[in-house]
Every structure is written in structure tokens, then in C-alpha cells.
């Protein structure tokens, strides 16, 4: 049957073509254009996440290496016994372990990031051969030595060491860069915050006390360098410990200073009056009459805004001093809706400040089209507008900088693992919002609020000029949509010293419960105490201080970062805590003896630090 013969030849020819194609393909991918770059390497390269430090190099977040308990199920000889031993050592449910042994096959994490003590015990059992199939695997973790202190700023990382919130999230790629192909360990960059841990500690303590004392929903205290826009302290209570973030209640993790929009109340008068003055509607000499309320007829409604008192004839200065609502409302009649709106936008209201913290709100500043007759005078007294605390303190930089609004900063600098400065954040002017004279006028008006007759009199400090404004806003009751009669936001803004502002402090107590709820009564004293505490750190002097100039010893502090190759500084007189940055130096080990302060050191100051140098310190 010749037909069948032809068919076999045809079939064989087709097969031949197929084989030829295959061989050509192999020639192509093996010889002509081989792709050799590995898409995957079985050995994971290790990334050591860079630390987060305060402005002086004190550690806020640092990499740790903890062991995780893993299991190779095929190698486990006695599942029952293994599960029992592990449950005893690791304090986890035996039946859970046994269940995963039976349900899963191959590799398994039993418990991740165990304590060094647990690790030691498990290691011993493994060495004794009691736990076949069980192994300890080192894993990188994150430790926050200051615990809750800067939790809202640093945020936290998840179990795989990836930033989940705060700077850890927004700067994840800087702290933990993509591993380099040829290196086993990739080191992340160091981020220095603008925060001063000492001031942060003071602010946090004050906020925590107020939080307890007034049973508040939330207490925020922000301290900013008035000349640079750098946050020196940034605290919000409730807070959480980022070391154990997973067990913290959700509400404690809310970063309120950026995420929470509220009506600021009377503190806002400093910005509304500054706007009116800049727009030419009012001058320092404008006069308004307060008979206890502001009243204006519109075709379809009569707008009435009550004042807390009958202040009679008022000027911008007395409006701020007494926090006169009707005066501020009448003053707002002198400017147009659109001008007023645009000026408030210039102050930064209704837009984000751009802090690298997740979830920043823009607040609520309605578009002029949707303003009613009531809106303009109401915004003038700080209601019908919602702001965030960072917007408020940022807007205040326009007052402390001769009218120039600054960009707020939380990052001071970024330093590479080799110690090279990658990025340094400097004062960043955004725009001129008001004239220098207007800024000066408002600051001076604010100073009168701290006079014995002013609303911020409880913030008066003898010998120190402070510009301040207090506020007590009614909160909108979320249930009724109307202003609540017993829920308030009490706050105080302080800029000091008035003649040459160095710092801005903004403190907010949200929904204080108790007989006292006025900003002037509960927030101003808190700010006063805080100011008293921090001015010595900043070197701000009261005129009443007995100044003793001393030219003796310089301040004791370790340079921000030391690295191999530089010389060892004089460490004598430093406390253990101040020595902390020493431990972050790669390739250098530190041995300490005793407690207290350094009394002697080897090698001596000025010695060149090399990889492998051992620094021995005696403390007393």
C-alpha cells in the first residue's frame, strides 16, 4: 500500500521539522542569547533597616535580630512530644501546634521573634537532639527603645520588617533600600527627625497628665521651631507602644495632629484678624462695638453670633485680648468673602501641609460659593471651618516669620550607612501671606492676651514676652449635627518670645470632661508649665533671670554620628543614655563597666577609630 508508505515519510518529515525547531530553540537560548541574570536567588539577601533618630542622634527605632522557631515537618520524629515541649517553652497552645503539624507539610513557622531567653532554651533542646525538625532562624525585627514616646511619628513595621505606619511607612524605601545584587547585607539609611527627645518627653508628660486629669478624648501638644518650621515635639495622647503595636487599640494609633479635623474656635481669630488687616479691611485702630452679640440682617435671615461678654468699644488688640466674638464678626464685614477665603487658603487652611505622615487631612474650608451669610463672621471666630493641629501651628509660622509661611518639617536629615549626608532639610519658605507689620501687630495683640485682663492670663510668665491666644470651640455633636452644649475643643497657641519668636507651642485638649473646659483655664496653665520647662533647654532667658555667664565647660553631648575613620571624642562626663549613639557605630564594640557617668575611657580621646576597635569605658 504505497499510500501508507508516503504517510510514514510525511509523518517522519514533520517529526524531523519539530526536532529541528527544538534544537534551533536550544541553540538560541543557550548559545546565541542566553539570559543569565537570576530572577530569584535561593539565599535571601539581608537588609538591615536603617535607624530613626532624634535630632541629636538618640535612637527612636533600631534593627534587632531575634530568632524565630521553624519546623521541617518531614523531619519531626515525634509530633506529639515536639508539640508538648514547644508549647511549654513558648507558651502557646499544644493542640494548635499539633494541628498545624498534621495539617501542613514541609516548612512552618511556629513562633516568630521569640525572646532571647526563649531562644536560649530552645537552642539547648535542639543541641541535645530533643527537637528533631525544629530549628531557630534569625529574623530582623524592629525595636523602639523609647516605646510610646514618638510612636505617632516613627510608626511601626510589620513582622516582615516593612513599614506599616508613620515614617517607617512613608520612608520605607529610604530606611530599607532594594538589596544590591552583589552584597550579602544591604544597610539602610539613617533618618534623623527634627524632634528633640528631651522636649518630646516633657510635652508627652504634660499631655498625658492633662489627658488623665480632664478625661479628654485626646490631647495634642506640638512644639515647633518658629524660625525653621521644624517640629521639636509632636505628641498626641492616646498613644501606643510600637513594639507591641498589634495589641494596641486602633484609636490609640490614630495620628490625630495630622488626621483629625476639628473646629479651632477662638485661636483662629489670630489668623482671621491677620487676614482682614492684610486685606486692608481693618487696621490696628479700627473700632467696633460689642453689645454682647453680632447681628446682621440678610433678606432671608438674621444672623446672630453671641459674645461671651459685653466688651463695648473694641479694637483688633482688645478683640484678641478678650477674645471678643462680636468684634471679630463685625471686623469680618470689612472684607469680601472671596478675599477672605483666598487669604485663609494662603495660610494653608484647606490644603495639606505635606508632612510625610500618612493620612493627613485637608480639613474643611468650604468653597466661597457655598458660604451662607453666617459663614464669614462664623469663620472669623473659628467655627464653620475645620483644621488639623499641624495646619494651625504651620499657619502660625507666618506670624513668627514676618508674614512668610514655612513648610513644616519632621525630617532633619538623612544619612547614608557610610555616614554621608544624603539630604538635609532646611528652612523652606512657602509664600508671603501677610506683611511684616501685620505679623508684628498680631503678635503684639496676642501678647496683651497674657495680661491680667486677657484670656491667656494664666500663661503669663514674668520676665518673658509671650504672644498667646486661647480658644474653646463647641464640637459638633455627630448625632444631631448641631453644636454640642457640653463637648468642647479647648486649645492655646503660644508664640515666644514676642519680640523675636523662637518657638511656637500649640496645645489642644479635645472634649475635656469636668467643670472646667475653657482653653484659657485648662490649656493655658499647661502651656505655661511646659514653657517654663523648655526655655532653659532652648537657652531662652527671662529678663528676671540672674544671668551668670560661665565660660567653663561646654555642653556634653556626643556628636550625631561617629564612624570608623574619625577620631574618638572625649566621652568623660557623659551618661549611659548619651552614650547610646556609640553603639550604633558599625565595626566598633563598646564595653562598659559600672553605672552613672563616664570617668575614664580607653582609647584616649582623639584616637582614630578603626573597624574592630574596642572602646572600654568606666562609669561612676
Amino acid at each position: 500500500m504505497p499510500n501508507q508508505k508516503t504517510r510514514f515519510i510525511f509523518f517522519a518529515a514533520l517529526t524531523g521539522v519539530f526536532i529541528l525547531l527544538i534544537l534551533l530553540r536550544y541553540i538560541e537560548i543557550m548559545i546565541v542569547s542566553p539570559s543569565v541574570q537570576p530572577v530569584y536567588s535561593p539565599q535571601k539577601s539581608v537588609i538591615e533597616r536603617g535607624p530613626i533618630l532624634d535630632r541629636n542622634g538618640r535612637i527612636l527605632a533600631i534593627q534587632t535580630r531575634l530568632n524565630s522557631v521553624t519546623a521541617w515537618i518531614p523531619s519531626i520524629k515525634d509530633k506529639e512530644k515536639t508539640a508538648r515541649v514547644l508549647s511549654e517553652e513558648l507558651d502557646i497552645n499544644k493542640s494548635d501546634i499539633l494541628e498545624s503539624f498534621n495539617k501542613r507539610s514541609g516548612f512552618l513557622y511556629i513562633k516568630r521573634k521569640i525572646t532571647p531567653t526563649e531562644s536560649k532554651r530552645i537552642q539547648k533542646l535542639i543541641n541535645n537532639g530533643d527537637l528533631p525538625g525544629i530549628a531557630l532562624e534569625p529574623e530582623y525585627g524592629r525595636n523602639y527603645p523609647e516605646r510610646q514616646l514618638t510612636a505617632h511619628l516613627t510608626g511601626f513595621t510589620g513582622i516582615d520588617n516593612i513599614g506599616l505606619d508613620g515614617i517607617e511607612l512613608t520612608y520605607n524605601d529610604i530606611l530599607s533600600p532594594q538589596p544590591e545584587a552583589d552584597q550579602e547585607t544591604t544597610y539602610g539609611n539613617q533618618i534623623f527627625l527634627t524632634i528633640d527627645l528631651t522636649m518630646q518627653y516633657m510635652a508627652e508628660k504634660a499631655a498625658r497628665e492633662a489627658y488623665k486629669k480632664y478625661n479628654a478624648d485626646d490631647v495634642m501638644i506640638l512644639i515647633m521651631d518658629a524660625k525653621t518650621g521644624e517640629f521639636l515635639a509632636y505628641t498626641s495622647i492616646p498613644e501606643f507602644d510600637p513594639n507591641t503595636f498589634s495589641t494596641a487599640p486602633k484609636s490609640s494609633k490614630e495620628n490625630k495632629p495630622v488626621t483629625y479635623a476639628y473646629e479651632p474656635g477662638s485661636v483662629f481669630k489670630i489668623f482671621s484678624l491677620a487676614s482682614m488687616m492684610e486685606l486692608g479691611g481693618i487696621t490696628q485702630n479700627s473700632h467696633f462695638y460689642c453689645n454682647g452679640k453680632y447681628e446682621k440682617e440678610f433678606p432671608d435671615e438674621t444672623v446672630v453670633i453671641n459674645c461671651l461678654g459685653v466688651h463695648g468699644d473694641v479694637t483688633p488688640q482688645t478683640i484678641i485680648q478678650y477674645s471678643c466674638n462680636s468684634g471679630a464678626a463685625y471686623a469680618s464685614d470689612t472684607v469680601s468673602v472671596l478675599d477672605f477665603y483666598l487669604k485663609l487658603r494662603d495660610f494653608g487652611f484647606g490644603s495639606r501641609t505635606g508632612l510625610p505622615l500618612p493620612g493627613e487631612t485637608i480639613g474643611i474650608l468650604k468653597k466661597p460659593e457655598s458660604w451662607s451669610g453666617r459663614t464669614k463672621p462664623t469663620i472669623a471666630i473659628g467655627q464653620e471651618i475645620s483644621v488639623s493641629a499641624v495646619q494651625m501651628i504651620t499657619a502660625a509660622t507666618a506670624l513668627s516669620n514676618g508674614g512668610t509661611l514655612l513648610k513644616p518639617h519632621i525630617i532633619k536629615k538623612i544619612v547614608s550607612p557610610e555616614g554621608k549626608l544624603i539630604r538635609e532639610v532646611v528652612r523652606t519658605p512657602v509664600r508671603n501671606v501677610i506683611g511684616d507689620s501685620v505679623a508684628q501687630a498680631i503678635l503684639e495683640d496676642m501678647e496683651t492676651a497674657t495680661l491680667p485682663t486677657g484670656t491667656a492670663r494664666r500663661l503669663n510668665i514674668e520676665g518673658l514676652r509671650i504672644s498667646a491666644k486661647t480658644g474653646t470651640a463647641q464640637r459638633i455633636d455627630p448625632e444631631t449635627g448641631r453644636y454640642s452644649k457640653n463637648a468642647f475643643v479647648a486649645s492655646t497657641m503660644a508664640i515666644l518670645p514676642t519680640d523675636d519668636p523662637r518657638i511656637i507651642i500649640y496645645a489642644v485638649i479635645d472634649n475635656p470632661k469636668g467643670p472646667e473646659f475653657y482653653g484659657g483655664r485648662i490649656v493655658a496653665p499647661l502651656v505655661k508649665e511646659l514653657v517654663e520647662e523648655i526655655i532653659p533647654i532652648l537657652g531662652i532667658r527671662k529678663t528676671t533671670d540672674n544671668v551668670v555667664e560661665h565660660s567653663g565647660k561646654v555642653t556634653l553631648s556626643l556628636p550625631g554620628h561617629i564612624e570608623p575613620g574619625s577620631s574618638l571624642p572625649d566621652l568623660t562626663g557623659l551618661s549611659k543614655r548619651e552614650l547610646l549613639p556609640l553603639f550604633s557605630i558599625k565595626g566598633i564594640s563598646v564595653e562598659m563597666e559600672g553605672e552613672g557617668w563616664v570617668v575614664s575611657q580607653t582609647p584616649s580621646p582623639g584616637t582614630l577609630l578603626k573597624e574592630g576597635t574596642v572602646v572600654h569605658l568606666k562609669l561612676k
Partner: protein
């Protein structure tokens, strides 16, 4: 045409084809060596035993050789007689895989059944049974072979039923492979080309429909067209295999010295063993293996040609068995190079896997059996 009896004097007459047997031994030896190199790492991490797969493979190969020897010595008549039983057993086993509790699901495919603590893949047995059945039916109905109702339809329906059952095990590629082998036997048997046109118009659209009905198949297809589009999943094997091959170059890194199998190349010991071979033995090694398979097939075909116009059952059978082994190898090799989409077809003599090895050796045993009888027949004449 001759009648095969079950008479004793026809057993042990003549000797099996030495060339073919040598090729089987050579390929098996190379297969074992490659498998050990490809699997020791996986065996070490997975089973705490670097020679886990080697030992297993040696046991299967030993059993395979024994089966091959027995089958090559059987009287020829037993093959035709066993067809109904084989088809019946295949059918029962295929249906059994679909019964929960008996069938075992591995990586999404329900292709295995469990006997004791061993698992068995019945679709391998189906290959053998169908080739035997088709060779028999087409040689018996040689005169009716272009009669649609009596000649073509019955075998085609049987093939269709098995292909459908294999498809239901979620093994699309084996179903297609069985159809392909069946069609090649139909083709060589001289079925009118018009029927092929008919079969293609009927089967191809259906196959395409079924192809696109499962996500993992579409994913594999996309991965085939553009491996980079999904490097973490379906395209991964293809890319990983290419890198392994590319790093082998012309001469290779040397046997046992490849590194991609250390986790970089999934399924290194089974379907992608050829990539390990490419990395370690280079293009030269690949070429040698391909040439060995070509010689193997050429010998198989040339042995079958001796039955041409004498015994069509033996001719079709040896053609079908050789084609089955050759094309499994070619498709597997083509998959590894990314020439055709990823299938689950193992490389005969090389890939780890029990059922596939046993059936391959039985197939070789049949070929050897008929090679021997050709010789004895020739001697008699």
C-alpha cells in the same frame, strides 16, 4: 495475516533487538545520573535524604526492567487478548480517580489513585491500552477503515471517551497528547484525509473552548506568550528554565555543578529535569540526549517497518508505542525551552515518577518482544 497461538514453541525463539535494548539501557543510565544530580538538593531539604529520589527511581527502574524483560518474553497473542481487559481496567481506574477518597489531588490535578500507600496515575495505563486497542481495531477493520459508521466511529468514540475522562482529571495536556497519538495511528493506518479535516474542525474548537475554561491553563498560555508578565507564578518555571539553560552555555558547568536546581528551578527533578541537564551538560549534552532519542525512535520505527504489509497490528502497535515515547520526550524538551506552553508531560527515562517509568518500560518490552519475533520469523522463512 497470521494467527497467534499460545503455543510453547513460539516462546523464547530468537533474540530481542540488541540495538534497541542498548538504547533503553543507555537512556535509563543517563536518566538516573541526571535525576540524582537534579534531585539531591530537593530530597535533602524536603525529606532529609539527598538520595530519596535516586532510591525511589532505582526501585522503579529496576521494576521497569523486570517488567520489560517479562513482557518481551510473552507470547505475542497475549497482547490482543489482553486488550478488552486493559481497556476495562483503564476505564475503571479513570473513573475511580474522580471518586473522592480514592483519587488524590496533587497540585490541582486529580490524576492519581492510591493503592495502599502508593499512588498510581491511570492516564499512563490509558496510553498503553489505547495504542494496543487502536492497532488491533484498525488492523482488523482494514477493509472497512474508510467506512464511517463501522470503521472509524467506534475507535474514535473510545478515544474520545478516554480523552474526556483525562480532561476531567484536570489534565488537559495529557488528553491532547492521547488524541495526538491516536490521530497519528489513524493517519498511518491510511484513514481518508477527509476525515482528518472533519476531526480537526470538530475537535480544535472544542479543545480551545476547554483550554480557556480553566484559569491555570489560560495563565500558562499567557506565561508562554510572555513569561515576563507574571514572573512570580506561571511564567516562573519558564524563566527559571531559560536562566538555567542560558547559564549552561555550550559546554555546560559540569555534571553535578549546576546551581539553579538549588531552589531556583522548581520541579527540577520531574518535568523540568532537562533544564538541569542543560545547565550542567550544556548544549552539547542536550544535543546528545536529543540524538539518542532520535536513534531510539528511528530504531523503533525501523523495527516496525519489518511488519509492514505483513502484520498490520504489529506495525501500528510498534509505530504507536515509539511515537508515544518519542513525542513525550520531544514535547517535554520543547516545554523546557519555552517552545510550547507548559504541560505536565514528563521526560521518559529521566523524570521522576513511578507510573510513567513503569509504562514506558512495558512499552519498550512490547517493542522488544515484537523485534524478537520478527527475527525468529525471518529465521524461519
Amino acid at each position: 495475516m497470521m494467527e497467534y497461538g499460545f503455543s510453547a514453541e513460539k516462546i523464547n525463539k530468537g533474540s530481542s533487538d540488541f540495538v534497541f535494548l542498548s538504547l533503553v539501557v543507555l537512556l535509563s543510565g543517563l536518566g538516573i545520573a541526571s535525576l540524582f544530580s537534579a534531585s539531591y538538593y530537593y530530597g535533602m531539604v524536603r525529606f532529609d535524604n539527598p538520595s530519596y529520589f535516586l532510591t525511589r527511581q532505582l526501585v522503579f527502574m529496576g521494576t521497569g526492567f523486570l517488567l520489560m524483560f517479562i513482557v518481551s518474553k510473552l507470547p505475542k497473542g497475549i497482547f490482543v487478548k489482553s486488550i478488552p481487559l486493559l481497556l476495562f481496567v483503564s476505564l475503571i481506574l479513570m473513573i475511580a480517580t474522580l471518586i473522592p477518597g480514592v483519587g488524590r489531588e496533587v497540585l490541582g490535578g486529580k490524576r492519581w489513585i492510591i493503592i495502599g500507600n502508593r499512588s498510581f496515575q491511570p492516564s499512563e495505563l490509558v496510553k498503553l491500552s489505547l495504542i494496543l486497542y487502536l492497532s488491533h481495531i484498525l488492523s482488523k477493520k482494514k477493509d472497512q477503515k474508510n467506512d464511517l459508521v463501522n470503521g472509524i466511529l467506534p475507535p474514535f468514540i473510545v478515544v474520545g471517551v478516554f480523552a474526556a475522562l483525562i480532561y476531567m482529571q484536570n489534565d488537559f495536556s495529557t488528553a491532547v497528547f492521547i488524541l495526538f497519538v491516536a490521530l497519528s495511528i489513524f493517519f498511518i493506518a491510511g484513514i481518508h484525509l477527509g476525515y482528518f479535516a472533519f476531526i480537526f474542525t470538530a475537535v480544535v474548537p472544542l479543545a480551545l473552548m476547554l483550554l480557556f475554561s480553566k484559569e491555570h491553563r489560560v495563565r500558562r498560555l499567557i506565561a508562554f506568550l510572555d513569561p515576563g508578565s507574571d514572573p512570580s507564578r506561571a511564567g516562573f518555571q519558564v524563566i527559571a528554565a531559560k536562566i538555567a539553560l542560558g547559564s549552561g552555555g555550550f559546554w555546560g558547568k559540569g555534571l553535578g555543578l549546576g546551581t539553579r536546581k538549588l531552589g531556583g528551578l522548581p520541579e527540577a527533578h520531574s518535568d523540568f529535569i532537562f533544564a538541569v541537564l542543560g545547565e550542567e551538560a550544556g548544549f552539547i549534552g542536550i544535543a546528545v540526549i536529543v540524538v539518542l532519542f532520535i536513534i531510539f525512535a528511528a530504531r523503533g520505527y525501523s523495527l516496525s517497518r519489518k511488519y509492514y504489509e505483513k502484520d498490520y497490528f504489529a506495525y501500528y502497535l510498534m509505530f504507536g508505542l515509539t511515537t508515544s515515547i518519542l513525542y513525550q520526550a520531544l514535547i517535554n524538551i520543547a516545554v523546557v525551552s519555552g517552545l510550547v506552553p507548559v504541560t505536565g508531560i514528563p521526560l521518559p527515562f529521566f523524570s521522576s515518577g513511578g507510573s510513567s517509568i513503569l509504562i514506558t518500560f512495558i512499552m519498550c518490552g512490547i517493542i522488544l518482544n515484537f523485534s524478537r519475533n520478527v527475527s525468529s520469523e525471518d529465521n524461519r522463512e
